[in-house]
């Protein structure tokens, strides 16, 4: 965390204007990623983490999505106000993205090799045969057997894991400084999941690439991430180094999350699912958004939005009773 962050998102606000109401998908998310660091964004579905990732790269379809506040700075440069031409050069070269379901995210009618080579062509880095060879080399690097032959195949001819590897190959083609992975392994079974995460780690270390890992899987966060940012109802409610946060959470929601997940050392203990269901982002409760489902909730929580309480250097939590939660 010491040196200058490669990406810093400050008080990002995104709303969807559909129907006669406005859905506040992201309510002031703030987080940052240091070079060569893996930051995990943890949260249930509907917590706004995927929207945040898309907003960072300005991939939200507008309308209905509108970024109504906050800033996204990449190496000091504000991404959101970048002119179109510059934004187009930025995507793929500086930041790249890996999506969750490769089957729908890859173009079904173009060969895998062509789609990867397109990155080189689109950014004027290489053309024709040179671009194809680089694509083949990338396929090899991400562990696809017999890459020269497979480059000519199409998306539907690959297994789930292989498709995800193609996505990753595409993302790291121009060795971006930051890779955003939006639930890269959710659609895969556990064994393949581990291989993909391992691949991501190796590639990251090889090219000193920072990574934002968006997931709801605590196990993955624990294994791979350096820092974790817990999101609830469109805000980052707690963040800090992974080991610290996961061992002694300072926010009621993080604690509840940890208790609702089976872990080896608590064998025999009854799991405690979190009561209620994620909030309706069109009607976010006043005060602390988690208060309706929170064990520690008091009147204060219901009325006043909790301040950000610093727990330790590089750690904070937005909870009136951060101390009490911390001591549990």
């Amino acid at each position: 965390m010491a040196d200058h962050p490669i990406l810093s998102v400050d008080n990002l606000q995104v709303e969807f204007r559909t129907g006669r109401e406005i859905v506040h998908a992201v309510n002031g998310a703030t987080f940052s990623v240091a070079p060569r660091e893996t930051a995990a964004i943890l949260g249930e579905s509907g917590s706004g983490k995927s929207v945040t990732a898309a907003a960072i790269m300005r991939l939200l379809q507008s309308p209905p999505a509108f970024v109504t506040g906050g800033s996204v700075r990449f190496k000091g440069q504000d991404v959101l106000s970048m002119p179109m031409a510059e934004w187009r050069r930025f995507c793929g070269r500086d930041i790249a993205m890996v999506f969750q379901d490769a089957l729908t995210s890859l173009n079904p009618v173009f060969s895998v090799g062509w789609q990867i080579a397109e990155l080189f062509r689109a950014h004027g880095v290489a053309r024709g045969k040179d671009a194809r060879d680089r694509a083949i080399e990338l396929l090899g690097r991400v562990g696809i057997p017999d890459p020269a032959l497979r480059a000519r195949d199409y998306t539907h001819q690959f297994s789930g894991g292989m498709r995800q590897r193609v996505m990753i190959a595409m993302a790291i083609a121009l060795s971006p400084d930051l890779l955003t992975a939006d639930e890269p392994t959710t659609a895969l079974d556990v064994t393949v999941q581990a291989q993909i995460m391992e691949l991501l780690e190796d590639l990251r270390r090889e090219s000193d690439m920072a990574m934002i890992l968006i997931t709801h899987d605590l196990g993955v966060v624990a294994d791979v991430a350096d820092t974790v940012w817990v999101m609830y109802a469109g805000r980052v409610v707690e963040h800090g180094p992974v080991s610290a946060v996961l061992s002694r959470p300072a926010h009621a929601y993080t604690l509840a999350l940890l208790n609702s997940v089976p872990r080896a050392r608590d064998k025999g203990r009854k799991l405690e699912p979190i009561a209620g269901s994620p909030p309706d982002l069109a009607r976010i409760p006043d005060g602390c958004a988690f208060h309706p489902r929170c064990r520690f909730a008091t009147n204060l929580c219901r009325v006043e939005a909790p301040p950000s309480v610093a727990i330790a250097p590089g750690r904070a939590a937005e909870c009136h009773h951060a101390g009490k939660v911390f001591d549990v």
């Binding site: 031409a85 187009r88 062509r121 689109a122 004027g124």
Partner: protein, 515 residues
């Protein structure tokens, strides 16, 4: 293709400016200068001729191009009064009841150099009459009449007929003579005749070119050549002459003839009528037939749906044809009388409210459908139960010629007949005699008179045909008579040419001169 810095905005601007530039350049170069070849006449017909064989020249589509231009006849019929003038035959005398001797013009040769004499003329006539070929001259104008020829002198030819032929010279005005080298077993597309113009080229679907024949026996015509093109839409034909792309449009519709300086109306020897099926109730009752005539407001259609220059008709042949009876009075529009007649018929037990169907044919003559709809309304207004069915020519023909459908209802058939061959025989037998292919009437005494008239000549012949027409009109009242029609031609400013009654089926290039 690298789309990298291909911003979307620029792309569409480039496309628009490019298209605009092309349009401007295009506009300038294309203001078409219609280069009008000096002495070539361009004629725009309404349809492409279906062949050009000389022996079909009496069919209007072929005749317009070939007759008296490429192929000529022994005698020529003067359209105004049906008189016969010499053409390839200089004189003719009647030798017996069935034979005429023709003296042929000397010093005439065909376009391919073959000499024109008794022998080549005989060969041409026998080819035309050969049943192996479907020559329209035979099927239309001669039917069961057989011609035989005998060469008497080098330029003298005897032509005899298997039945008395008092008007053989008139009939020979219909027989066009082609070169002896024309194949005998099939109809040709490149006619060779003796006319002032010879066939040059036919690009199928596009144009036919004729060029002046220098070795022509007659006066050298002014027009050096002719180019025939065809367009189906009358509006387009009229526009082409107006713009100068064509010099003459022989027939255009009345609504396109809007420019008096260029448009001429001419009686086109066509007569329109509703043929009444006299054998089917309620039309088998003369009162109902007369009521139909009186219910027809004949003045309402003139100058509105049809041209103002058409004349009321009382019989099948136009006034200029021998046998036309001028004494027959037009039945003026009198709806009250019509209703009275219908009431009388109803009282006499005639099923007057039985359905009567008008069978029309689309595009039989310009605005034919509108005319039928108007007449249907007129008949309905006097209380008759009349329906209308317009048909394409194939279905319509089922009702026109025998054998008629046995269980057909009461039919009024929209019909049009043209006869510019000078004599009533070409019209009446077919349409009114018991044996006539299109006859719905069968009146024994009239039949006898018809066959007698066919054998007579001169004044007896004319009076006999007049009597037949009177019987048809007054005794039988077998038709709802409409009009003797007119055609409209548009002639460009470059040409001196006034259309005549025969313009509908012949277009003599030799008569044209340039302004």
């Amino acid at each position: 293709m690298n789309f990298k810095n291909f911003s979307f905005g620029k792309y569409s601007n480039r496309w628009l400016t490019g298209a605009a530039a092309v349009a401007v350049v295009f506009g300038m170069t294309a203001n078409l200068q219609t280069v009008q070849a000096q002495k070539i006449v361009t004629v725009v017909l309404s349809e492409e001729p279906e062949g050009l064989d000389g022996c079909n020249a009496n069919r209007s589509t072929v005749g317009r191009v070939a007759k008296q231009n490429i192929v000529e006849t022994l005698t020529a019929i003067d359209p105004k009064d049906g008189a016969i003038t010499p053409r390839l035959a200089t004189s003719w005398t009647k030798m017996s009841e069935n034979t005429w001797r023709f003296e042929l013009r000397k010093g005439v040769s065909f376009h391919d150099g073959a000499p024109f004499n008794a022998e080549t003329a005989a060969k041409a006539i026998s080819r035309t009459m050969d049943s192996k070929l479907d020559c329209e001259t035979r099927t239309k104008s001669f039917g069961d009449i057989k011609l035989t020829t005998k060469v008497v002198g080098s330029h003298t030819l005897d032509i005899s007929v298997n039945k008395p032929a008092p008007i053989l010279p008139t009939r020979m005005g219909v027989v066009s003579l082609s070169s002896p080298n024309t194949p005998l077993d099939k109809l040709v597309l490149n006619p060779i005749g003796t006319g002032p113009y010879k066939f040059d080229k036919w690009t199928p679907g596009q144009e036919i070119i004729l060029t002046r024949f220098d070795g022509y026996w007659g006066k050298k015509p002014v027009v050096e050549g002719a180019r025939y093109i065809w367009r189906s839409e009358s509006t387009v034909r009229a526009a082409m002459v107006k713009v100068g792309e064509a010099d003459i449009a022989p027939n255009i519709a009345v609504q396109d003839a809007t420019d008096p300086t260029m448009d001429f109306s001419y009686p086109n020897s066509e007569t329109t009528r509703l043929r009444i099926d006299v054998t089917r109730p309620p039309l088998n009752d003369k009162r109902v037939r007369l009521a139909l005539n009186y219910a027809f407001d004949r003045d309402a259609l003139r100058g509105s749906i049809l041209s103002k220059d058409i004349e009321h008709a009382t019989q099948i042949v136009v006034p200029s044809i021998n046998g036309h009876n001028p004494a027959l009075k037009v039945r003026a529009y009198d709806p009250a009388k019509a209703r009275k007649l219908i009431a009388e018929a109803k009282a006499a037990g005639v099923p007057v409210d039985k359905e009567i169907v008008i069978i029309g044919r689309t595009n039989i003559y310009p605005n034919g459908t509108e005319a039928m709809e108007a007449m249907m309304a007129m008949f309905q207004s006097v209380g008759l139960n009349v329906k209308l069915r317009m048909m394409e020519v194939g279905s319509w023909l089922k009702y026109l010629t025998k054998p008629y459908d046995a269980n057909r209802g009461a039919i009024l058939l929209q019909a049009q007949h043209d006869n510019n061959n000078g004599d009533a025989v070409f019209s009446i037998f077919n349409k009114y005699a018991c044996g006539g292919a299109q006859s719905s009437t069968c009146d024994k005494p009239m039949d006898a008179l018809i066959s007698k008239a066919a054998t007579q000549s001169g004044v007896q012949r004319r009076d006999a045909w007049r009597e037949v027409n009177r019987i048809i009109y007054e005794d039988l009242a077998a038709d709802v008579w409409m009009y003797h029609m007119v055609g409209y031609s548009r002639v460009g400013s470059r040409i001196n040419f006034t259309p005549s009654i025969s313009t509908n089926s012949e277009l003599h290039l030799e008569e044209m001169t340039f302004k």
